[in-house]
């Protein structure tokens, strides 16, 4: 029955994207559009004494300048059950009276052309009265008062995890191994920034909104929150989206402002984010933690304690609390560690808000956990592989409930790990390393491994684990699938078509996927968009299930039309036929019409089957990465020799797309470990404001990745798939960090803060040599 599922089909969406015929938000032209430019704070912490827009307003073509008092309101912030979160720092649409970070929207200039709006924005005078900024999260947590007058402290989130008896574990341990690890702030940096176009449709009496988002339904809901009591009806469409990576899952103040102003002015308003704005407006990661493990001399980890600080920035956006919560609950990764005392604090600083980025808390916890495991191996003089094998959850222990109270249904972590080691020729590299260390020819060889489990489909409530799908079959046999998840590079038009084609017995080419339109995919029902590696796992399962139901309907009609019994009916290539009498056949389109004639009429006249799929719990996948690197002690430069990525993501729908996700996720993960960082100086100024100083991986930086796919079927999805989008970004930074630290171990270097830039590595080597030489 699976002719197409499992095949490396080339993507159906590619032709128009290759021809430059995609339609991204900035490509949409609406007549009579006004252009918005955002005036942003140049201070990290200041009272705003005055915003003088008189000169800007005097410029011909300027329609309005909006300041904080003109546009009250804050964004909605998600607080999941069971976490102790203090509200009071929700992000305001515009700064009013005080500015809290460099880049915060202070005023909006709206004009007839972009050029006029840009000119006018430069004429808006903002008089700041600077206050001392709070930059360091640990320091901020200690402060006796809060950055926000309405709050008692800067700690706005506590999401502790206490499991088993960690105290006893530490009492009976042979040894305690400790580490302090940081996971720096980074900028997700999709190649297309954010952007929004909105107008009030007088005929339909509602707001029409195009926005570059991963989650049109979420944006609609969050916009309704911002409008408040007298909210208009809102229709949100996400057109082609040029990458998201978590950054585009939420509503931001500038996007909300576009919609509010278009509603107020009754004219279309457009705002397209600049790269500079994208780099300074929102970030991710920004964790630092003290982690310790109670271990036996044989490498078995008995228990863990951790105290982790998440730098949330000055305000919260919708998903700001998500990553710390996930990081805390998933701290133990793929390991069987039941005794855990995890303290996770989310803290305010004078920096931009943080939100989820590919992996959402899991790269953060994995970097800390995997570095700690390597440190355990080093202190006990064991191979890091041995320590992992001793602690990984065993196949027979599934379903396994973690210390963070997450149940993982199934897995075979040892098999995937061993596959990665075999393909990497791990033992050979270790032998080579032993030889080169004796020879000491200058370059330092390092081998690093990481084993990580990553969720897919979300661990939140029912709505976060549910998606809607509608499969429509018309008389011509053309099939439309409506889904509330939407793509920004994941190839859903193809993978969804593969799943549906197999159910309906049609070719994928007759299937069209429609996404991102709140009118077309159950606006009132569940559906929160694409994030948490959920789009295929939940949205695809919904489409699969709807198609399966449609197939059952078609089959019952085929039995009558072909005058045979159900065991004799076969489907394929858009036809149904009697296996015993090949001359008798009928098309899927005709069957759909026959079936529809006996059902409730539909608006389209075609056969329509709707389905809401709810994932029982997060479908965890497993990854084992092996990095082999060479560090040049003269420059601190890290060169890749090999990079192996074994992923058990269950039954793959399209291995070609899975390979693409793995290579892409690794580029982001390695970039994060090696070069990417947004630092803020003592005054709260960001170090990176353009792609000249925010260093994302270029083609020459990227190693050749060897992907290996394993397929332990998930019991949670109808086709056995698990998500894969985030997993490579969870495993790769940890594997790389371990490889570099392994290379430097003979010099006595035991820690370097990420990212491992040549400068930092070189300095650490110099410091170590100075110490060695007394």
């Amino acid at each position: 029955m699976t002719t197409y599922t499992g095949q490396s089909m080339r993507r159906m969406e590619d032709d128009r994207l290759l021809r430059g015929a995609g339609q991204f938000v900035a490509d949409i032209a609406v007549p009579d559009t006004l252009h918005m430019v955002v005036v942003r704070s140049t201070e990290a912490h200041a009272l705003i004494d005055l915003v003088d827009a008189s000169e800007a307003l005097a410029l011909e073509g300027v329609v309005t300048v909006v300041v904080g008092s003109d546009l009250p309101g804050t964004l909605e912030v998600m607080v999941r059950p069971g976490i102790d979160a203090k509200l009071g720092a929700e992000h305001p649409l515009l700064a009013n009276e005080r500015a809290m970070y460099v880049g915060q929207p202070v005023a909006l200039v709206i004009a007839e052309t972009l050029a006029i709006a840009e000119d006018a924005a430069e004429l808006v005078e903002v008089r700041y009265n600077p206050l001392p900024p709070v930059i360091d999260a640990r320091e901020s947590a200690k402060a006796n008062n809060s950055l926000h007058p309405g709050l008692a402290t800067n700690v706005v989130l506590r999401t502790p995890v206490l499991s088993g008896n960690p105290h006893a574990a530490f009492e009976r341990a042979d040894r305690v191994v400790k580490g302090t690890f940081s996971v720096p702030r980074v900028a997700p940096s999709p190649m297309e920034g954010r952007g929004c176009i909105a107008y009030y449709d007088k005929v339909e009496e509602r707001m029409q909104v195009w926005t570059s988002t991963q989650a049109s339904h979420e944006i609609r809901r969050q916009l309704l929150h911002v409008f408040g009591e007298n909210a208009p009806e809102i229709h949100v469409v996400s057109p082609d989206v040029g990458g998201g990576f978590g950054q585009k899952h939420h509503l931001y103040p500038d996007e909300a402002a576009v919609v509010l102003m278009a509603h107020r002015l009754r004219r279309p308003v457009r705002w397209i984010e600049s790269r500079r704005e994208n780099l300074i407006a929102s970030h991710s990661r920004g964790f630092v933690g003290d982690v310790e493990a109670a271990v036996q001399n044989d490498g078995r980890i008995l228990g863990m304690r951790a105290s982790v600080f998440a730098d949330l920035g000055a305000y919260q956006i919708h998903g700001s609390f998500l990553s710390p919560d996930i990081a805390g609950k998933r701290m133990t990764g793929p390991y069987d560690i039941q005794d855990l005392d995890m303290q996770m604090l989310g803290v305010l600083t004078n920096k931009p808000p943080t939100g989820p980025y590919r992996g959402a808390g899991q790269p953060e916890s994995s970097i800390m956990m995997e570095r700690l495991v390597d440190r355990i191996a080093r202190e006990l003089d064991l191979d890091p592989v041995e320590v992992r094998l001793k602690n990984l959850i065993q196949p027979e222990d599934f379903p396994y409930t973690t210390a963070g109270d997450i149940t993982i249904d199934s897995g075979n972590y040892q098999a995937a790990f061993r596959r990665a080691l075999d393909v990497a020729e791990y033992e050979d590299w270790r032998a080579e390393q032993a030889k080169t260390r004796v020879r000491d020819n200058g370059k330092l060889l390092g081998v690093g491994v990481a084993t990580t489990a990553s969720g897919s489909g979300g661990s939140g409530g029912v709505s976060a684990r549910s998606s809607f799908a509608r499969v429509t079959v018309d008389g011509e046999g053309q099939v439309t699938v409506d889904s509330d998840v939407s793509p920004h590079g994941q190839g859903m038009s193809t993978s969804f078509a593969q799943l549906v084609a197999d159910q309906l017995g049609v070719v994928p080419e007759v299937i069209t996927l429609q996404t991102g339109d709140t009118d077309k995919s159950n606006p009132l029902g569940p559906g929160t968009g694409t994030y948490a590696s959920r789009s295929l796992v939940i949205g695809g399962s919904a489409a699969h299930s709807a198609a399966k139901e449609a197939r059952a309907v078609l089959e019952s009609v085929a039995v009558q039309a072909l005058e045979c019994d159900s065991t004799s009916v076969r489907f394929g290539m858009g036809q149904a036929w009697d296996v015993h009498d090949g001359s008798r056949s009928i098309s899927v389109g005709e069957l759909a019409m026959l079936a529809q004639a006996e059902r409730e009429p539909t608006a389209s006249g075609a056969l329509e089957i709707e389905y809401v799929f709810t994932l029982p719990s997060s479908a965890f996948s497993f990854a084992a990465h092996v990095a082999v690197v060479e560090v040049d002690p003269a420059t601190g430069n890290v060169d890749f020799k090999r990079f192996i990525a074994a992923h058990d993501c269950g039954v793959a729908v399209n291995p070609l797309i899975v390979h693409g996700q793995i290579a892409g996720g690794i580029a982001q993960g390695l970039g994060e470990a090696l070069v990417e960082v947004v630092e803020h100086d003592a005054n709260g100024n960001p170090s990176a404001t353009s792609l000249m100083d925010y260093s994302m991986f270029q083609a020459e930086d990227m190693p050749v990745v060897t992907p290996e796919l394993l397929a332990t079927p998930s019991s949670l999805t109808p086709t056995g798939m698990r998500g894969v989008g985030e997993a490579p970004s969870v495993a790769s930074p940890a594997a790389l960090a371990n490889a570099v630290m392994d290379a430097l171990a003979p010099l006595g270097v035991s820690h370097i803060d990420l990212p491992l830039t040549p400068e930092r590595v070189w300095k650490a080597i110099c410091d170590a040599r100075t110490q060695l030489n007394g």
């Binding site: 080339r10 993507r11 969406e13 590619d14 032709d15 994207l17 290759l18 021809r19 430059g20 015929a21 995609g22 339609q23 991204f24 900035a26 490509d27 032209a29 050029a115 940096s189 999709p190 190649m191 297309e192 920034g193 082609d240 989206v241 040029g242 990458g243 990576f245 600049s274 790269r275 500079r276 920004h488 590079g489 994941q490 190839g491 070609l656 797309i657 390979h659 693409g660 290579a663 892409g664 996720g665 690794i666 580029a667 982001q668 353009s690 792609l691 000249m692 994302m696 991986f697 270029q698 083609a699 020459e700 990227m702 050749v704 990745v705």
Partner: protein, 157 residues
């Protein structure tokens, strides 16, 4: 200022403000939106087009500087019924995900391969050093370039 620019075979005279960047002229005046903007400092390469046969980041020129030139954008690369070999190779090798950097990548690689019809993998990587992609990790873009070059040296097995 009046400028005369031929894009994808169509010559036109337009009146533009001197400060108009070529990329804005292409996208807004000519409404050819396949040429994308991914940064504001000429780092990302998403706006790469061929100006008189030379791959140029169209954000790094004013439209008036391109007066009299012949430009090819991504919309002019394929014919109605067939893709350019570089585009075809991108399709076969899954060289694109979101598709935002793709037009610039394709144009740049057309020039890379024109100058060096059988490049090494390292030469391909060097050739697209000025084009950023956040989705693919470049692996399949490089595989596509090697395929388009008719070489079996690189890419996925």
């Amino acid at each position: 200022m009046k400028i005369n620019i031929t894009i994808n075979g169509e010559a036109r005279v337009d009146d533009v403000e001197p400060r108009t960047l070529l990329v804005h002229y292409i996208r807004e005046t000519r409404r050819l939106t396949g040429t994308h903007i991914g940064c504001d400092t000429s780092q990302c390469g998403a706006c790469t087009v061929l100006v008189d046969g030379l791959a140029v980041k169209s954000c790094s020129l004013f439209a008036v500087q391109a007066d009299g030139s012949i430009i090819q954008t991504i919309e002019g690369v394929a014919s109605d019924d067939s893709l350019h070999p570089v585009q075809e190779a991108f399709w076969l090798e899954h060289g694109l995900q979101c598709g935002y950097c793709t037009p610039g990548m394709v144009i740049t690689l057309m020039q890379v391969l024109e100058r060096n019809p059988s490049p090494s993998e390292a030469e391909v990587r060097r050739g697209i050093a000025g084009n950023l992609c956040r989705c693919t990790g470049y692996q399949n873009i490089i595989a596509a370039a090697m395929r388009a070059a008719g070489s079996s040296k690189g890419g996925n097995q």
